[in-house]
């Protein structure tokens, strides 16, 4: 016998579920009457949303000056939050597209949910480019729309690339998400008992029957979308990073930004997915589907991307020294030891040190601990954006125009408010849409595999379990 033994993948779905029970498990959430707790959460979310609307209203009424911006720091929390939210918005598409191409079937448990998170995060992100400008009422000038000035946007501007990148990313993610939803909406349509749901889900399902001729094109489309979304998801944060990399400010003007931003985005995205997943699966009893194996896999990704980000931080320092550009050297020394040292070291601690604990399997599989780290990581990533945006501007070329940025209450309220948008949408999603891709989950059940049946159509699944690793002496 061979020295090695085939160790099969652990079952993706725990407990002995069949198709019907899966359907029930997921659709019940949407079909059963709304739980009290949901209303409570929704109320809090709406309150935060109110805060956002108030803060933005005041901003528009008074002017950008209500924020802490100044010379030389022309970009503050608004841009930080934008980059932060977009970063979070990377996990969903990455999970559904890249993991799909890599045939990582475990993605099916979380992709729906991660995609939803992506879309809502991108919505939050999109708020900021809109409101951070001085004249919000003419923001539409960034689009190539014929206007009375007969002028067109400036295609040399990274900010304009952003407009295209982020809006494309949003649209494609939305389509991707919807395509995935269609068969599940059909399921809900057929499960729904009351007229309103029947009609609503019916419209959403577009008359999907589950015809295999349709599935045939459907899978093709899904594959192509995944193929398109993969470079797209990588391009978005690349282009966001151009906002900085293409400028000439020390600490911004660096070629490492694209990969480093993408890594950071995946890092924070997965952390956010974990944060939400761990709560949701508890509340809705989805442990069978969103298992600790998923959690562990995601923790591994966090460990990897976190280390990549850490590598980038160190690389920046090295290159600053190696380039011999005095302004570069100065800005990196100032980041670590200057007026913003606290931000820099918070970032280092949260993003580089904290994920290293996931080298230990015990911690990778520890729910409470994972939850804690997932929060820490997102704090760290916010500080990363703060360090990049603010410190570079505050201490650039001419010492005479160095300054110190401090936010006002309105910066804070606007940021906190975006969580209102996010959770309002997310709670609505949990309530009204299937949080798990039912069809896809069914497809990865052993029962779904024709090879698990004999010619009399009897079901003979081979038992799948993780065996104790045997070490044989040779």
């Amino acid at each position: 016998m061979s020295k090695y033994e085939y160790v099969p993948e652990p079952a993706l779905v725990k407990g002995n579920h069949d198709f019907a029970s899966i359907t029930k498990l997921v659709t019940d959430v949407n079909l059963r009457p709304t739980p009290k707790l949901w209303y409570l959460f929704m109320l809090i979310a709406n309150a935060l949303l109110g805060v956002f609307l108030f803060a933005v209203g005041y901003l528009i009424w008074e002017g950008t000056g209500v924020w802490g911006l100044m010379n030389p720091v022309g970009w503050g929390w608004a841009i930080i939050n934008f980059v932060w939210w977009v970063g979070i918005g990377h996990a969903g598409t990455l999970i559904s597209a890249i993991l799909f191409l890599f045939r990582q079937d475990w993605r099916t448990a979380i992709n729906r949910f991660a995609e939803a998170m992506t879309i809502f995060a991108v919505i939050c992100a999109l708020m900021f480019p809109g409101i951070h400008v001085g004249r919000i009422w003419v923001i539409y000038w960034v689009f190539p729309i014929p206007n009375q000035m007969a002028m067109w946007p400036n295609f040399n501007s990274p900010l304009l690339w952003d407009v295209f990148a982020v809006s494309t990313y949003f649209t494609v993610s939305l389509l991707f998400w919807y395509v995935g939803l269609v068969p599940d909406l059909a399921t809900l349509r057929d499960k729904a008992t009351d007229k309103i749901r029947k009609i609503a889900y019916g419209i959403g399902a577009l008359g999907w029957t589950g015809s295999n001729r349709a599935w045939w094109n459907y899978e093709k489309a899904y594959m192509i979308l995944a193929g398109l979304a993969t470079p797209l998801v990588l391009s978005v944060h690349t282009i966001v990073s151009f906002d900085f990399a293409v400028s000439m400010i020390p600490g911004w003007h660096t070629t490492i930004f694209p990969p480093y931003f993408v890594a950071g985005a995946v890092f924070s995205g997965f952390a956010m997915v974990l944060t939400l997943m761990l709560i949701t699966r508890k509340v809705y009893g989805m442990e069978d589907i969103m298992t600790n194996d998923h959690m562990e896999k995601m923790n591994i990704i966090i460990l990897v991307t976190g280390s990549m980000v850490g590598f980038a931080y160190i690389m920046e320092f090295f290159i600053a020294w190696y380039s011999g550009v005095e302004y570069e050297k100065a800005i990196f020394m100032l980041r670590a030891t200057g007026p913003y040292w606290w931000a820099y070291w918070t970032m280092m601690l949260c993003n580089v040190i904290s994920p290293q604990v996931f080298w230990f399997k015990k911690l990778r599989r520890h729910v409470g601990f994972t939850f804690f780290i997932s929060i820490v990581v997102n704090i760290g990533m916010w500080f990363e954006r703060f360090v990049i945006t603010v410190t570079s501007l505050a201490n650039d070329y001419l010492p005479s125009s160095w300054g110190y940025f401090s936010p006002t209450i309105w910066d804070v309220l606007t940021y906190v408010g975006t969580f209102g948008i996010f959770f309002t949408l997310f709670l609505a999603f949990l309530r009204f849409l299937p949080m798990i891709a039912i069809a896809e989950i069914k497809a990865v059940l052993p029962q779904a595999d024709p090879h698990n049946y004999d010619e009399n159509h009897e079901y003979h699944p081979h038992i799948v379990e993780v065996p104790k690793p045997k070490v044989e002496k040779v």
């Binding site: 009424w61 008074e62 002017g63 950008t64 000056g65 209500v66 802490g68 911006l69 100044m70 010379n71 030389p72 720091v73 022309g74 970009w75 951070h132 400008v133 001085g134 004249r135 919000i136 003419v138 923001i139 000038w141 960034v142 000035m149 002028m151 067109w152 946007p153 400036n154 040399n156 501007s157 990274p158 900010l159 304009l160 407009v163 906002d243 293409v246 400028s247 000439m248 400010i249 005095e326 100065a330 501007l393 650039d396 070329y397 001419l398 010492p399 005479s400 125009s401 160095w402 300054g403 110190y404 006002t408 209450i409």
Partner: protein, 1015 residues
């Protein structure tokens, strides 16, 4: 509730509501301190501003003077709308005139420039001259006379004068500002003739009394010392800040001193400036050798200098005996040698405020050095009183206290504010029944006056006078008085003649005296046209030195408290001018406040940081003020600037609490009144740290160059050996990156990834060069730019948030030892980079390049992403975080006269748009159009385009012109080996370049004032 109803409501309660709410409301309502920004900013309001300003243009047009006045440049048939006219006039300040030319749009004065023909100006100005236009349109100016606080009219006063001043035995005390006007002097004499019991004193808190008295001691007659630095190879300033606008003749002196430092090749020579002072002044920063000593030791230094010189030149034997801790020091020996070897071509001066005896000593030194006649002249000034005014003023005040006066007439002075507490001037006024105060503002003195007479601004009224050097001019009004007011000569004639005679008549009568008969009419036209009549009227006295003995100096052991006028608002008379309040102090870069300046060592020993409160006590009186560390300040010496801490003067000047923005802590502003402590220049004082801090709005947080190469300089010696000292290659020891490759391709600019746009040959290409060797950092360019380009005043909070709007700023860096550093100034406007980093990042192409190579902002395309400002390596872009213009231009009154100060050729920028230096594109295009009409070519002749900053600069440090014309001055400057680009390695190709600084320190002292180029 809408603003309008608010206004009327409060206005009706105006007199009653002296309560906190009302004060807050006033502060909220009143823009110049920009607390407004927190109230609802409505576009309606903005439109109202625009509407109003259009209306005002018409309103202005019908206010043209009735008297015939002649345009300075070319006389049109009639006013062509849109084409400004230029009229000559002159600004009186500190008993001397500076000739000006005022730009008028449809009969509305909008901009002040210097008069090329006037010896006090030679075409240039200082910040006070530039800001005076704002003073005329100041909504807080006194708009009518007050009788016992009640609104009255000029007619009422004339009626009053008719019966009150008939009694020739009235015991009247005239307390007048210094005024050079011959008409005024004549009226003064007739007044004294008329009222036999009258006393006349000229009171100026920082006047030249001691200098005059010093000359009396030295030469026996009351003379003005007038320097001619053009002939001076060695200039010694004993605590005499003659480059600062606080000096009545700073424009002429600045021009002369900097004129001797225009170095075009390494064979040229330069004058050498020594400065001995306690604080860091503009003159000290510009000096080649600076010695920091306590102000109380300056006199001792003067004696020691005389002593050291006595062994080298004749005529100072009286000083042989002097021996103090200065005698024998390296500095004084080297200085004496230098002076002795430049006898006849050196000039020693000492600050006005120093004792009359020390002035006599300096007079003796200059005489001994044979400087008299070549670099120093002593002028006989008719307007001088034949008395020691300091003494006379004290006598008058004690007379008032004793009840020896029936009436006091304060003409253009504000003694209640500007006298020290122990004099108790306000108390003295109580023993006088008729107190007549004549001034521009309803100020401290007018509060305790039975008559307040509103003063016509000099741009509104006829007048005359002499420049510091004695050139006679007529002050020509540019517009009819905006308010019910009198000029000082009209006031005086009303008192003397008991009837109102128009200023026009009075002035003409004076000049008819000079030009009798028919010749007068033509002469009169020329005088008005040229703005100057005779250039040297004051006679130069031929002086012979009496025996001057060393003055008895008392050195202050502990801490000395030095009190000086403020560089921005002088003695407080400009306190309500937002432009000047927001003009950063040339050295400290502080706006809106005064502080207690002290050396780092003193601060350490006191244990106080910047903004920490200290209590300063001088003989019993004490004030609490924020401390500020001034590197290079003398130890154990505290410098305080007067003019702040005003109450009830106006919206800008008044101190108080800003109505705080939601959730923001309210902040103090307005500064502290120093006058209670002010008895003399310096006094022994006690300083103690008290709890708390006071927020200071300083526009420059970081004062070190960090060893960077933005500012390049060398000593004259070094320049002779290494002319290329300013080049990038020399500073960095390697060529500009991309230059080698470019050379291979035969290009003269570093290579770039793109094949750049080229400019058509038939368009001019604008460029600017700033000569750091001339610039001494006064900051007039900032105000000139603000006036020309309608830059709003944004208030202390916004400035302290780092949102200053000035299009040209004046960076000040300290170099070398923290305790005794060198300070350098560097004006930074937009660099108009050819490969501008700001342009490519704008998503909507709101900033682009013009065919004549200027980096342009398209305001109405800008959406305000601020990306351009971020990407500007020079950080010269300014953002309208709030609707500043609305806050600045609307006071709630109708009409908003301050809007008349705006330049109609420049857009008023709205909230949310970016703005920056335009190279005065409105001037450029006017010149291009003219040139197209005249010569069919869009290239104006060299010198026909002058930017506002360039025109104002008394040091002629700024050169601007067409780079395609190789003979243009700017092109020549750019070919000079000292020309360098800031951040050249970025290859953004700035159109604005710098001419590296040169210093000329005494080789013997070169170690003490070690000045190496920064890199």
């Amino acid at each position: 509730m809408s603003e309008v109803t608010q206004n009327t409501y409060w206005k009706s309660l105006n007199e009653l509501a002296q309560n906190k709410e009302y004060k807050n409301f006033v502060e909220r309502e009143f823009p110049e301190n920009a607390t407004e920004l927190t109230d609802g900013v409505s576009r309606k309001g903005f439109l109202r501003v625009m509407g109003a300003s259009i209306a005002l243009a018409g309103f202005a047009a019908c206010r043209r003077p009735v008297q015939k006045i002649l345009p300075y440049s070319n006389q049109p048939e009639d006013i062509v709308p849109g084409i400004p006219l230029f009229y000559a006039t002159a600004m009186p300040f500190q008993g001397s005139l500076t000739g000006l030319v005022v730009e008028n749009h449809e009969g509305r004065p909008t901009k002040v420039e210097g008069n090329d023909l006037h010896p006090g100006s030679w075409g240039n100005t200082n910040a006070y001259h530039q800001a005076t236009i704002l003073e005329m349109y100041d909504p807080d100016r006194s708009r009518s006379p007050l009788r016992n606080g009640e609104k009255a009219t000029i007619q009422d006063f004339v009626a009053f004068a008719k019966n009150y001043f008939t009694d020739r035995n009235k015991r009247i005390a005239f307390i007048s500002e210094a005024n050079s006007s011959p008409t005024y002097t004549t009226l003064k004499q007739s007044a004294l003739r008329k009222f036999s019991n009258a006393k006349w004193v000229t009171y100026e808190p920082f006047g030249e009394d001691n200098a005059i008295e010093g000359n009396r001691i030295a030469f026996g007659s009351r003379l003005r010392t007038h320097y001619n630095y053009t002939n001076a190879d060695v200039v010694v300033s004993l605590d005499d800040d003659f480059l600062s606008p606080t000096h009545p003749n700073n424009v002429e002196y600045a021009k002369q001193v900097t004129g001797r430092r225009k170095v075009t090749s390494n064979s040229d020579s330069m004058n050498r400036i020594y400065s001995i002072e306690n604080g860091f002044t503009l003159t000290g920063a510009y000096a080649d050798n600076r010695l920091r000593v306590k102000a109380s030791e300056v006199e001792a230094f003067a004696n020691a200098l005389a002593a050291t010189l006595s062994t080298r030149v004749n005529g100072l034997n009286a000083f042989r005996s002097v021996n103090n801790h200065f005698t024998g020091s390296d500095f004084i020996t080297a200085l004496a040698d230098d002076l002795a070897s430049h006898a006849g071509s050196s000039a020693v001066s000492i600050g006005f405020a120093h004792s009359s005896n020390s002035h006599a000593v300096v007079a003796a030194i200059n005489t001994a050095l044979n400087n008299n006649g070549s670099t120093v002249n002593y002028l006989q000034v008719p307007s001088f009183d034949n008395q020691n005014n300091k003494q006379a003023f004290a006598d008058v005040v004690s007379g008032m206290k004793a009840g020896n006066f029936d009436a006091v007439v304060m003409i253009g002075t504000n003694p209640v504010y500007t006298t020290s507490a122990d004099l108790d001037f306000a108390g003295a006024l109580e023993n006088v029944d008729e107190v007549i105060h004549f001034g521009t503002y309803k100020d401290e003195s007018s509060k305790s006056a039975s008559w307040h007479i509103s003063r016509s601004h000099f741009l509104e009224a006829w007048g005359d006078g002499f420049s510091f050097g004695g050139a006679r001019s007529v002050i020509q009004p540019q517009i009819q008085p905006l308010h019910d007011s009198l000029s000082e000569i009209e006031l005086l004639s009303t008192i003397v003649n008991e009837d109102l005679v128009s200023g026009y008549e009075l002035v003409q009568n004076t000049f008819k005296g000079y030009y009798s008969g028919s010749g007068f009419e033509n002469r009169w036209k020329d005088i008005l046209h040229d703005g100057v009549d005779v250039k040297e009227v004051y006679r130069k006295a031929t002086v012979s030195l009496r025996t001057v003995t060393p003055s008895q100096t008392t050195s202050i052991d502990g801490i000395e408290v030095v009190i000086r006028p403020d560089a921005s608002i002088y003695d407080g008379r400009f306190a309500n001018l937002g432009w000047l309040q927001e003009l950063p102090d040339p050295m400290t870069k502080i706006t809106w406040d005064n502080v207690a300046l002290m050396s780092p060592a003193t601060a350490t020993s006191l244990g106080v940081e910047n903004e920490g409160l200290v209590n300063v006590a001088v003989n019993g009186k004490s004030i609490t003020i924020a401390a500020w560390i001034q590197p290079g300040h003398a130890d154990d010496s505290i410098t305080l600037n007067v003019g702040y801490g005003r109450e009830g003067i106006g919206r800008v000047a008044d101190k108080g609490i800003e109505s705080s923005q939601l959730f923001d802590p309210s902040e103090n502003y307005g500064g502290v009144n120093i006058y209670p402590l002010h008895t003399s220049l310096f006094a022994s004082g006690a300083v103690s740290v008290t709890k708390g801090t006071y927020k200071i709005a300083c526009v420059q947080d970081h004062h070190s160059l960090e060893g960077r190469d933005m500012y390049r300089q060398a000593t004259l010696e070094k320049y002779k050996n290494t002319p290329e000292y300013a080049s990038f290659a020399y500073v960095h020891k390697y060529a500009v990156p991309g230059m080698k490759e470019a050379a291979e391709l035969g290009e003269d600019q570093p290579i770039s990834l793109f094949d750049e746009q080229t400019y058509s040959a038939d368009e001019p290409q604008w460029g600017m060069a700033i000569d750091l060797n001339s610039c001494f950092g006064c900051g007039v360019c900032v105000i000139a730019c603000q006036s020309e380009n309608n830059i709003p005043v944004i208030g202390k909070r916004e400035v302290s948030r780092g949102r200053e709007m000035h299009w040209i700023r004046n960076d000040r860096y300290y170099m070398g030892d923290e305790h005794n550093p060198q300070a350098v100034h560097q004006p930074v406007p937009c660099m108009h980079c050819e490969l501008a980093p700001c342009e490519q990042v704008c998503p909507v192409a709101a900033t682009t390049h013009s065919d004549d190579g200027m980096n342009q902002m398209t305001y109405n395309r800008c959406i305000g992403t601020r990306y351009c400002a971020n990407n500007c390596p020079f950080k010269v872009r300014r953002f309208n975080f709030f609707n500043y213009p609305k806050e600045y231009l609307t006071s709630g009154e109708d009409p908003d006269i301050i809007q008349m100060a705006m330049n109609p050729e420049v857009t008023v920028r709205f909230r949310g748009v970016m703005e920056k230096c335009t190279y005065c594109v409105q001037r450029v295009n006017r010149a291009k159009i003219d040139s197209k009409i005249k010569t069919k070519s869009p290239k104006p002749a060299d010198g026909s385009v002058v930017t506002a900053c360039q025109q104002a600069c008394p040091a002629d440090a700024i050169y601007f012109g067409d780079l395609t014309d190789n003979n243009s001055v700017v092109a020549k400057m750019k070919h000079n080996e000292r020309n360098y680009l800031m951040l050249e390695e970025l290859n953004v190709r700035p159109r604005t370049s710098y001419i590296a600084k040169l210093t000329n320190p005494n080789p013997v002292l070169v170690d003490e004032t070690n000045q190496e180029p920064a890199h």
